[in-house]
């Protein structure tokens, strides 16, 4: 019974993946689509093997800028979120600015960053940071704003200060929101890093794709895409697992058995 449930969980998604690649390969073969428009999976795989070292180097670089930018936004986002959630004045004064800032498409900021810092690592890190800190701020602030008033009453009736209420229930209460935002934020940081590399980079998967397409190395462009997808999924998965591990209580024992 249990074995069968496991089986049912894993097989369908894998089957869909395999089927998608098979259909892709067949379409390319049957309609005889030229490689410079749409290479089949086999050609992409060949390109991947051929350029393995370059791909590995650039993927590491993209991962590095993503994670540095993401680390910055975790610190800044957590701090801002706690400040916004703690104080009504900070919330009222800061929130409109944050919303306005978040509505600017980040690709439009990259040229500004390039003027300031030149082409390379810093614009990529900063773009990753700028694109990913907002969801963290919003989630942490939401966790604090939705604090149950009864919990606050219980603590206040014990003589707890606002600071104690914040430490004892505010922060633990907002942690599930925080961790939920991390998996969104890390994929956004990844997007930001790749955007910056594509617009104004000299290394990274985004840059590699731009230069490959300039040289009509179309299979390499696709290999870059597949690598990006895999990295995005991996980053998401890592933070989804961390979330489940650290805030199991918020899932009401679905992951922690009684």
């Amino acid at each position: 019974m249990r074995r069968r449930a496991r089986w049912a969980e894993w097989v369908p998604p894998i089957a869909i993946f395999v089927a998608a690649f098979v259909v892709w390969e067949l379409v390319v073969d049957v309609f005889n689509i030229p490689t410079f428009i749409l290479p089949g999976p086999s050609a992409v795989w060949a390109a991947f093997l051929k350029w393995r070292d370059a791909i590995l180097f650039n993927a590491q670089y993209t991962l590095y800028t993503t994670l540095v930018g993401f680390a910055m936004s975790v610190v800044a986002g957590m701090g801002l979120g706690l400040a916004v959630g703690y104080s009504a004045i900070v919330y009222r004064s800061l929130y409109p600015l944050l919303v306005a800032f978040n509505s600017v498409p980040k690709v439009a900021i990259v040229p500004v960053l390039v003027v300031w810092f030149g082409i390379g690592t810093i614009p990529a890190v900063l773009t990753a940071f700028l694109i990913s800190f907002f969801p963290i701020v919003v989630n942490v602030a939401t966790g604090l704003a939705t604090l149950e008033p009864e919990w606050q009453d219980v603590l206040r009736s014990l003589g707890a200060s606002k600071r104690e209420i914040f430490l004892k229930i505010g922060i633990p209460r907002s942690l599930p929101y925080f961790f939920a935002s991390l998996k969104v934020a890390v994929t956004l940081a990844f997007v930001g890093a790749v955007i910056a590399e594509t617009v104004a980079g000299n290394r990274g998967i985004g840059y590699m794709q731009i230069s490959a397409s300039a040289r009509f190395e179309v299979p390499l462009v696709y290999a870059g895409l597949v690598v990006l997808a895999a990295m995005g999924v991996a980053l998401y998965a890592v933070f989804a697992i961390i979330e489940k591990r650290l805030t199991g209580w918020a899932y009401r024992g679905q992951s922690l058995g009684a």
Binding site: E148, E150, W151, D153, V154, L155, R156, S157, L158, G159, A160, E164, K168, I169, P172, L175, T247, W249, A250, R252, G253, L256, A258
Partner: protein, 253 residues
């Protein structure tokens, strides 16, 4: 005292000219239909709300802000889901003055105190569970322990058994009575359950719907410890009928 609060541009008078005094160590129950300002009254006793007119004093000191050493429990027992039952019970000790400083040093002693308290309400060995792993009645038992662990002189209970089934509720009446007989803190309990009120109280105050006022007050002439058998005695049913009649009169008007 009178307490008003603004609601959508209007002033709502939640309680009006309520005067009552609770002797130290007494068990007082305020009973009444929902919306009669019972919870408001309870919160103003804790200093969480301040009266519009009049004063609230605890131990002859006027209440001007949240009291520092009150135990509270509510209808939904609101244990913190990220803490195990034991850590939930210990929470007040991390906040209330004399214990706060000693807490880390003397954690072991406090834990054994809490374990004893849990055992006395029938939660022996439940300390390591998370709140979602226990039943509603066990939740409420733990909530009682949390309200009592720091040995408050005043215990405020807001329909603590309202969400439980009848059997569990009656069992917890006896648990609460037992704890009270043993420790003799002052209890102020609000409920809409008249049987609960009579079973537990030294003195029952009955409140009318909004604006809440005290319409009737009666001592309960039953000896302690009371048993469920007592709820079928003549004294119990007479008190019950009288209270019910008074509420009926006010609602009919």
């Amino acid at each position: 005292m009178t307490l008003e609060y603004p609601h959508e541009g209007e002033t709502v008078r939640a309680i009006e000219d309520v005067t009552l005094s609770v002797p130290r160590g007494a068990f007082v129950v305020v009973a009444g239909p929902s919306g009669c300002g019972k919870t408001t009254l309870l919160k103003s006793l804790a200093g969480l709300l301040l009266p519009t007119r009049g004063t609230v004093s605890v131990g002859s000191v006027p209440v001007r802000g949240p009291l520092k050493n009150v135990g509270m429990a509510f209808q939904n027992p609101i244990l913190l889901p990220w803490r195990k039952i034991m850590d939930n019970v210990l929470l007040p000790l991390e906040i209330v003055a004399p214990h706060k400083k000693r807490f880390h040093r003397e954690r072991k002693a406090y834990v054994s105190q809490a374990r004893e308290l849990l055992a006395s309400v029938g939660l022996e060995g439940f300390g390591d569970r998370h709140p979602w792993q226990v039943s509603g009645g066990q939740h409420q038992r733990a909530s009682l322990c949390r309200a009592l662990i720091h040995q408050p002189e005043l215990l405020l209970l807001d329909e603590p058994f309202g969400a439980l089934d009848a059997f569990t509720r009656e069992e917890l009446w006896q648990v609460l009575q037992g704890l009270w007989l043993q420790r003799r803190f002052t209890v102020f309990l609000v409920t809409h359950d008249l049987r609960e009120a009579i079973f537990l109280a030294d003195e029952v105050y009955v409140m009318s719907p909004r604006p809440g006022r005290v319409i009737y007050q009666t001592p309960v002439p039953l000896r302690r410890p009371r048993t469920l058998e007592d709820t079928f005695s003549a004294a119990f049913t007479d008190t019950y009928h009288e209270i019910r009649r008074r509420i009926g009169e006010v609602i009919a008007r």
